[in-house]
């Protein structure tokens, strides 16, 4: 570990955080199945310390600064050119996480994208980030900041071939700001990855995150949202299609800290062949988070006897005036609906594909960009 640190360019603004990251990682190590949150996705079976590495050259695409209030650039550039804002936000969420992968990522923090939308500004077009690289990298670090009243749409496309990697993306959503992120991981590539997003929402802000995964290898998405301002709302949707021996795990942790906040989660998985799909959903309603509304739903379809579905919804409520619900289902396709479609003349495989499309479609329907929604639906259908 420390020898690896020696090789890092120790002249960046990230350096002062590294040691703490090392400590967290060395204390926890890659979590095994004994760690509750990683019970069904033990990382010690996926990664080894030997492959820990980092790379600074992961940024592609254009950068711009304060284009009508919108900045998109690399983390390194941002830390130099916007030092005050960088210092105000960077690592403020990550440092509170007692998570091995956040630790290692902080230790090896190398580079990544920054999107900064200043007070009241709006992205005209959705900003697209293509995260595409060919080297192992456990230090991919990103930062998304929306100041008060800002509005943004961001599309993140994963396309990492044959690598092991970890990403941490810190997201700050200011008062009354509105952020939609669509994250796709549907390219025909193989990787082993842990993707962590940590979000903080201030009062009256809105956050919508939709993630679609259909990829070879191993994928764990940690989605953590902290609702710290009153009347903040988040919608978190996700869909995973797994085939062959693929393993996908969506894990959410929603912290209701302020009053009158709403969180809605809908995660659906379709598991084929010998694949594994996991959902870990946690809602914590803290003392004082009165009038919380927290909803969580997880539906799964098993398409083969050898496929595995694990679902672990958890709700911990420490306030008394709240509306919460959670539910998980595992099943096959609805017999009556199959009968209905076949009665109209559709063959069995066609009827199955139609219903699977409908199952997925409901999750993706929250995506505001029609074209993007259709293209994701299409890519996923091809896997079915």
């Amino acid at each position: 570990m420390s020898s690896l640190l020696d090789t890092i360019n120790q002249k960046t603004s990230f350096d002062k955080f590294r040691q703490k990251g090392v400590e967290v990682f060395e204390k926890l190590g890659f979590p095994s199945s004994k760690v509750e949150e990683y019970k069904y996705s033990p990382l010690n079976k996926i990664f080894s310390e030997a492959e820990l590495s980092y790379s600074e050259n992961i940024i592609e695409g254009d950068s711009y600064y304060d284009k009508e209030g919108v900045t998109k650039c690399s983390l390194k550039d941002f830390s130099e050119k916007n030092e005050i804002i960088f210092n105000k936000y960077f690592n403020k969420l990550a440092e509170k996480e007692n998570d091995a992968m956040v630790g290692i990522n902080t230790a090896l923090c190398s580079n990544g994208n920054v999107i900064f939308i200043s007070k009241g500004a709006t992205t005209k077009e959705p900003i697209t980030i293509d995260l595409s690289f060919q080297n192992n990298n456990f230090g991919v670090r990103e930062l998304i900041i929306l100041e008060k009243g800002a509005i943004a749409k961001i599309i993140i496309n994963h396309n990492q071939q044959d690598v092991s990697w970890a990403r941490v993306c810190e997201i700050f959503i200011g008062e009354g700001a509105n952020l939609e992120i669509v994250e796709t991981n549907i390219k025909d590539v193989s990787s082993r990855m842990v993707n962590t997003i940590i979000v903080e929402q201030k009062a009256n802000s809105f956050f919508k995150h939709t993630i679609a995964v259909a990829k070879k290898g191993f994928c764990r998405n940690n989605i953590k949202v902290n609702l710290i301002g009153d009347y903040a709302e988040c919608i978190l949707n996700g869909v995973a299609v797994t085939c062959d021996d693929w393993h996908t795990d969506n894990a959410t942790i929603i912290h209701h800290i302020a009053e009158n906040c709403i969180s809605r989660q809908l995660y659906r998985n379709i598991a084929k062949d010998e694949s594994t799909a996991v959902f870990n959903g946690n809602i914590f309603v803290e003392i004082g988070a009165q009038k919380t509304e927290a909803y969580q739903k997880n539906n799964n379809i098993l398409l083969s006897e050898e496929a595995n579905i694990y679902t672990k919804p958890q709700l911990i409520i420490n306030a008394d005036d709240v509306k919460c619900s959670h539910g998980a289902t595992v099943g096959q396709l609805d017999e009556e609906a199959l009968f209905y479609a076949r009665q109209r003349g559709l063959s069995l495989p066609m009827a199955q594909r139609l219903l699977l499309g409908s199952f997925i479609g409901e999750v993706l329907d929250v995506i505001s960009d029609e074209e993007l929604k259709e293209s994701i639906k299409e890519s996923l259908s091809e896997r079915l």
């Binding site: 609805d334 017999e335 009556e336 609906a337 009968f339 209905y340 479609a341 076949r342 009665q343 109209r344 003349g345 559709l346 063959s347 069995l348 066609m350 009827a351 139609l354 219903l355 499309g357 409908s358 199952f359 997925i360 479609g361 409901e362 329907d365």
Partner: protein, 258 residues
């Protein structure tokens, strides 16, 4: 011999089980092209089961008897082959399919049917024209075809939508399972007239209902009373009036005294 005198549907001594329980206990029914048959009978007598068995629903097991449709053994065919041969079932409880538009659903259905018959795919413009035309038959609000299949449709809209699909698919044999229940007077008139407009000398219909009032619009050639898995009485359209006023008790008593 011309087709006119042959039976389109010939059900002989049909027995069917579900979960080991016998529901149909020897049904006999013959239907010729051009005819409308009404099936009435108390709740739980097996009307929907008969409709489902004819359509091929897999949870029902046929244990005895035969069903011939246009000279072919219907019981050997898959659900979709029966549909594409021209058997249409209007569901008592139409199923919602979120995220699939009615228009796309029907487009797939029609293209499967044409493939089955060896016909080339239908042109998009023809499809749209047909949707417009047939939508008018049941006064279906055009926005419904853009919505997901049956999702959020009112009870009446679902039933109208079944008739609309029937109009699009032009089956030889339409089996309508309580298409009149849950309809208000206007919707009943629309559905009834719709079915009548779609009637030709070449097709036939089985209309399952509890009420005489639908039969004011769709005049049946025969009425059968199903009770406890058997047809215990058949008659002409006047029978419906008698059943409406006197109920089924007199028939059931007769039947059980035999």
């Amino acid at each position: 011999m011309s087709d006119k005198y042959k039976n389109m549907l010939e059900v002989k001594n049909l027995h069917a089980n579900v979960d080991g329980k016998e529901i149909l206990k020897g049904i006999n029914l013959s239907i010729k092209a051009g005819e409308v048959h009404a099936i009435m009978g108390p709740n739980g007598s097996g009307k929907s089961t008969l409709a489902s068995v004819l359509a091929g629903k897999e949870k029902f097991i046929v244990t005895e008897g035969s069903v011939t449709f246009d000279g072919k053994n219907l019981l050997e065919m898959s659900i979709e082959d029966r549909a594409n041969e021209g058997v249409f079932l209007g569901f008592q409880y139409p199923v919602e399919i979120p995220g699939v538009s009615m228009a796309n659903f029907l487009k797939s259905a029609i293209s499967e049917q044409r493939k089955y018959k060896g016909l080339p795919p239908m042109k998009s413009s023809d499809f749209l024209k047909m949707m417009k035309k047939e939508g008018k038959v049941v006064e279906l609000d055009r926005s419904l075809t853009r919505r997901s299949v049956n999702e959020g449709f009112s009870g009446g809209e679902k039933k109208k939508n079944e008739i609309f699909q029937m109009a699009m698919l032009k089956p030889k044999l339409a089996i309508l399972d309580e298409t009149d229940s849950g309809l208000d007077i206007d919707a009943l008139r629309i559905v009834g007239n719709g079915v009548t407009q779609l009637k030709t000398p070449e097709n036939a219909a089985i209309v399952i209902t509890h009420y005489q009032r639908l039969l004011d619009y769709i005049v049946p050639d025969f009425i059968h009373v199903l009770y406890n898995g058997r047809i215990i009485h058949s008659g002409t359209k006047e029978l419906a009036l008698k059943l409406e006023t006197e109920g089924y008790d007199w028939l059931i008593k007769d039947f059980e005294n035999e």
